[in-house]
């Protein structure tokens, strides 16, 4: 299905407001056209020496137009905000089902945030594209009626009108779709160049490559500007054509007037002026449509990708035990990709404390993804409390295995709400206990807002180490028997990391602990340590 249609269907769940907005918009447009026509008529009649038409009618139309325009704007925005809310929730659910495994475990917060921009692009679809287009469609019968009253030949004027209102926007949409693709690629390549220059700033400085990197960025920027320039030139050309054709249409109406009734012709010219003014924005709307279509395609694709691991049709009951066992598990991302590991076996008895060490990029995180049912083993099976996890519902399993990884996110929200994500039913005493366990109680109670202090944007800022410990408090609040940590301190300095693990040791006594790390800091309390190299686990000296 056309992705734009998919979005429109989502809006249609809320038809009342959209319909009202449409109605008001058309009505406002009609009064605008009538106002111009009436003014012309009055003037023409006065010149021709006819009777004085009541200017009161004119005043009424003028007032109605102003009031209707205001109502149209307010109702239109109300409608689109409602529709947007619908789309946001729909997209959130879709992403939550499909992308947590694919996108979430990797560092892709920015890619996700860009999707949010796409959603925002979609609100222009209704206000700036559909409403004016429907208005133009409605104007056609109005014009037919008004023009045939004057002279049959006057219908000729409809040709330039339709050309401006429908043909040029269609051309613009097609040009924009091509151009937007090109500009999008150029944008991505610029982003890569900038990211490379900043991420590798150390190398850049040491190899005296500042000039080279800046030149590279400028070259990519020039490509982007060239693609955008092409699009802007196309838009300017189409606008100019639309303008010339519209004015030509007005001239045609005047010429036709010489064959028909002069008074009506004057009115018709002014009507056309208003009508063309209403559709002159449409070529630009066409350009916008081309871009919105691309955005809609990305949003629909991301939101409807489907879950990575199918849920069991008849789920088994959750076992009472919490031991985890990998039995001859093999995994690769696709049939044509190399194995991440083959025939991997690993026992995590209840109450044990195990670590798997290995260089980054070796596939350690895949072990966590498989355990949490974010990915499916290609061969072998994973047992939780003796039951194959393929038969267990993912949500219930994740309540037993609390996960804390490098991508675990602290939300721009209050400290309380961040903690409640772990246990929505927790009372204040429980929250303070959790903060005490990670040695943050003093820090939080010193904040003016206490538990209700805001984190991030416009709120309290916590240091990297405090942030990780806060995330740990949330993980502890889940009160799960198994705790799974995947590089929880990535990006922090060694001293902070040690401090984190000292707190962690005492806070997780008695639980089954599974750590995935690239190296130990030396303070972790562990029973067994495995080294993950070349897709196999080797016992390492503790």
């Amino acid at each position: 299905m056309n992705p734009v249609m998919r979005i429109v269907l989502l809006w249609a769940r809320n038809p009342g407001w959209l319909f009202l907005a449409l109605l008001l918009s058309l009505w406002a447009l009609a009064t605008g056209v009538v106002l111009m026509g009436l003014s012309g008529h009055v003037l023409a009649l006065a010149v021709a020496g006819g009777a004085l038409v009541v200017p009161a009618l004119l005043e009424w139309t003028g007032t109605a137009r102003v009031v209707l325009r205001y109502a149209e704007r307010v109702v239109g925005h109300e409608a689109i905000f409602r529709a947007l809310a619908e789309i946001r929730v729909w997209m959130f659910r879709g992403l939550a089902l499909s992308a947590a495994g694919g996108l979430g475990l990797r560092r892709s917060g920015d890619a996700l945030a860009r999707l949010v921009n796409d959603v925002d692009t979609l609100d222009g679809l209704f206000l700036r594209i559909f409403l004016p287009l429907l208005g133009a469609l409605l104007l056609v019968p109005m014009l037919v009626w008004a023009l045939t009253r004057e002279h049959g030949l006057a219908l000729l004027v409809l040709l330039p009108f339709c050309f401006v209102a429908f043909f040029i926007p269609w051309r613009a949409a097609r040009a924009a779709e091509e151009g937007a693709g090109k500009a999008g690629l150029a944008m991505a390549s610029l982003r890569t160049a900038v990211l490379d220059a900043l991420h590798g700033l150390r190398e850049v400085k040491i190899f005296a490559a500042e000039g080279r990197m800046l030149a590279e960025v400028q070259a990519r920027e020039a490509q982007l500007l060239a693609a955008q320039r092409e699009l802007a030139a196309e838009a300017a050309k189409l606008n100019a054509i639309a303008f010339i054709v519209a004015q030509g249409g007005i001239l045609l109406a005047i010429v036709l007037g010489f064959f028909g009734l002069p008074v009506a012709a004057v009115a018709a010219v002014l009507v056309l002026t208003a009508a063309f003014e209403a559709v002159l924005g449409l070529p630009r709307a066409g350009l916008l449509y081309g871009q919105a279509r691309k955005a809609a395609a990305r949003v629909v694709q991301a939101a409807e990708a489907g879950p990575p691991v199918p849920e069991p049709v008849t789920p088994a009951p959750m076992p009472s035990r919490n031991a985890i066992a990998f039995e001859h598990v093999s995994f690769r991302y696709a049939a044509d990709r190399p194995w991440v590991f083959e025939n991997l076996s690993l026992q995590l008895p209840e109450g044990s404390r195990t670590a798997v060490l290995g260089p980054s990029g070796a596939g350690k995180s895949t072990i966590a993804a498989l355990m949490l049912k974010l990915a499916q083993p290609v061969g072998g099976q994973i047992r939780f409390g003796g039951v194959d996890i393929a038969q267990l519902p993912a949500e219930a399993l994740r309540h037993r295995i609390a996960y804390l990884g490098q991508t675990t996110h602290l939300f721009a929200d209050t400290i309380r709400n961040n903690l409640l994500l772990g246990d929505p039913a927790a009372d204040d005493a429980k929250l303070w206990d959790a903060l005490e366990a990670v040695q943050l109680a003093d820090m939080v109670s010193a904040l003016p807002g206490g538990l209700d202090s805001w984190l991030g944007e416009g709120g309290a800022t916590v240091s990297g180490g405090q942030g990780r410990r806060l995330a740990l408090a949330r993980t502890l609040l889940m009160n799960a028997p198994v705790i799974l940590l995947d590089e929880p301190c990535a990006g922090l300095d060694a001293a902070t990391e040690q401090e984190f693990f000292r707190v962690f040791n005492t806070a997780t006594e008695g639980k089954t602990v599974f750590l995935i790390l690239h190296r130990l800091t030396g303070v972790e309390h562990l029973d067994r340590i495995w080294r993950f190299t070349g897709g196999t686990l080797v016992a390492a000296a503790g």
Partner: protein
């Protein structure tokens, strides 16, 4: 909006208007031709009503009409393209500025900042300034010039109608200001709540995996719906006031039109010579209000700037340029490195290095050990010049580091860290990064010395295989080999090795250490590590060892190191 952002916006505005002069001239000419066109149209209409001579005059008016339309279309295209260039030039300038500052600050200056966030500022935030320079500035200029021009023409044609138009026009900015102030007050009340609600959605999407893994998807979806509802209600409260400014515009336009018609209807009877004037003035009404409408339409572009300004203000200050005096150069071959009573601290309370003195002779190796956080990387960053000592001095061949020509200093230094950055590009480009001017022979030597032949042979496109973002992934050991090849190609006399094997498997580590030993031959080397294998290797070349933990312990005890 913070206070610091305001002057920044002011200066952007000033430079924007200066750059837009030509574009404004073109648009103003377009408006002038619009007046000519309206005049011709009025004459044609009057002829149609038989109040004027037909014949030649009609043809003349039609010709003027057609010419005016064509010239206007051409001017419009020129102005639109010119406006695009305004935005493009501004973006180029701002991006250059941001990247220039970030590059000058270097890795130590950007400590604690996420490179992805900084990249977003340099890419997306700069893009957001396009609307300001390409649309808002020209539209604002035109909203003043256009109505003034047309108002003047109307006044000269018929002073009563002109007055109606001018008064209606003056009401618009007044009403806009009143509504704007109202909306501003409403927005101020809602601002914090609105920002938080807007941020909420982006933030929840960013952290979606945390929500899913905590099993809280349904609750959050519901909370999101509630938040969206609240955002809608608050935004509408602001918009209902803000839309009044557009309504003022509509009201003024409709009132002007109706009043002009009413003004002419009684006098037109029996005074047919007035007909073209009346029609002309009616046709001028839409032209008069069009620039004001254009201005109202770009309101959003102006609002977007505030957020960008905040972010630009939050960027760190550029370091002062290196003073040109005292600069000296030293022989670039055979380097002796010395620290004389060097102290460094991020903050006064916790010094990282205290009174450190050391000396590494030409071709010698210094082994730097100590627990993580003891200051090994700080020593390396001090030598690299990314950090400056609080007191004491660092010398290379007797010359203080700060007095060296920066380019000459960079040429003397080689460095290999824990995890080399692999750039988006081919493996050849990644190696040549160290020295783009290297000859083919030098490149092959570097590849051989770093034992990269095997890897290159196994890659699908050999040395031209793309790596990095969107390319072929390399393992930690392979990446380190590329870093070694870079170091061979750069051939610097002073080599700094900062935990070069801490991310590697023991088997790979041995191999890499052998290559590093080979690389170290004939160079002055500082090796910071806590790997026992690396220490063994250092011992075999007779390295001196400094243990930073022991030094600190000694200084606590009052022993001078």
């Amino acid at each position: 909006m913070s206070k610091a952002a305001k002057p920044w916006i002011k200066s952007e505005q000033k430079s924007g208007f200066r750059a837009a002069r030509l574009s404004l001239l073109l648009s103003s000419a377009g408006i002038a031709f619009g007046v000519v066109q309206a005049g011709a149209a009025a004459r044609l209409l009057a002829a149609l009503l038989h109040v004027q001579q037909g014949g030649l005059a009609v043809w003349g008016s039609a010709a003027v009409f057609i010419c005016a339309v064509l010239v206007r279309a051409w001017l419009q295209v020129r102005a639109e393209r010119g406006n695009f260039e305004l935005g493009a030039a501004a973006r180029r300038r701002l991006r250059g500025q941001v990247l220039g500052v970030l590059m000058a600050l270097g890795p130590a200056g950007l400590r604690g900042r996420h490179s992805a966030e900084l990249a977003a500022t340099a890419v997306d935030r700069v893009e957001a300034m396009d609307g300001f320079h390409a649309r808002w500035v020209p539209a604002t200029g035109l909203a003043i010039i256009g109505p003034a021009l047309i108002g003047l023409v109307a006044l000269l044609t018929d002073w009563r109608s002109g007055l109606i138009l001018v008064i209606a026009g003056l009401c618009v900015p007044f009403a806009m200001a009143v509504a704007g102030i109202g909306a501003g007050i409403a927005a101020k009340k809602q601002f914090l709540a609105m920002t938080r609600l807007q941020v909420r959605f982006v933030d929840r999407i960013r952290g979606i995996s945390s929500i899913v893994l905590a099993g809280r998807m349904e609750d959050e979806a519901k909370a999101l719906a509630t938040a969206a509802k609240e955002l809608r209600e608050r935004t509408m409260r602001v918009l209902r006031v803000a839309f009044l400014s557009s309504t003022a515009l509509d009201l003024a336009a409709a009132a002007a039109l109706v009043l002009i018609v009413i003004r002419f209807v009684p006098v037109l009877r029996g005074a047919h010579e007035l007909a073209p004037t009346a029609l002309f003035l009616v046709l001028l009404v839409p032209e008069f209000f069009a620039p004001l409408r254009g201005f109202a339409a770009v309101y959003g572009d102006r609002m977007a700037v505030e957020a960008v300004a905040e972010e630009f203000q939050a960027l760190p200050e550029a370091p002062p340029p290196v003073p040109p005096v005292h600069i000296r150069s030293v022989a670039a071959h055979g380097v002796t490195l010395a620290f004389e009573h060097v102290t460094f601290a991020w903050d006064e309370a916790r010094p990282v290095l205290e009174n450190l003195s050391l000396k590494v002779g030409r071709g010698e190796m210094l082994l730097l050990t100590g627990a993580s956080g003891a200051g090994k990387s700080t020593v390396i960053d001090l030598i690299l010049g990314f950090l400056a000592p609080r007191s004491g001095r660092i010398t290379i061949n007797g010359a203080t580091l700060e007095d060296l020509v920066p380019a000459a200093r960079t040429r003397m230094l080689g460095w290999i860290g824990q995890k080399p950055v692999i750039f988006a590009g081919t493996i050849e480009e990644n190696i040549r990064f160290a020295n783009p001017a290297a000859s083919e022979d030098e490149l092959q030597d570097a590849i051989r010395n770093a034992h990269l032949e095997e890897l290159i042979a196994s890659l699908p496109q050999g040395i031209k295989t793309p790596l990095g973002e969107g390319g072929f992934g390399v393992s930690g050991g392979q990446a380190q080999r590329i870093a070694i090849a870079r170091a061979f190609l750069k051939d610097a006399p002073l080599l700094l090795l900062d935990e070069p094997t801490s991310h590697l498997d023991p088997a790979v580590e041995r191999d890499i250490l052998e290559s590093l030993k080979h690389l170290s031959a004939g160079r002055t080397v500082v090796l910071a590590t806590h790997s026992s294998q690396a220490m063994e290797i250092a011992k075999t070349v007779g390295a001196k060892r400094i243990d930073l933990d022991a030094l600190r312990y000694a200084s606590w005890r009052g022993v001078v190191a």
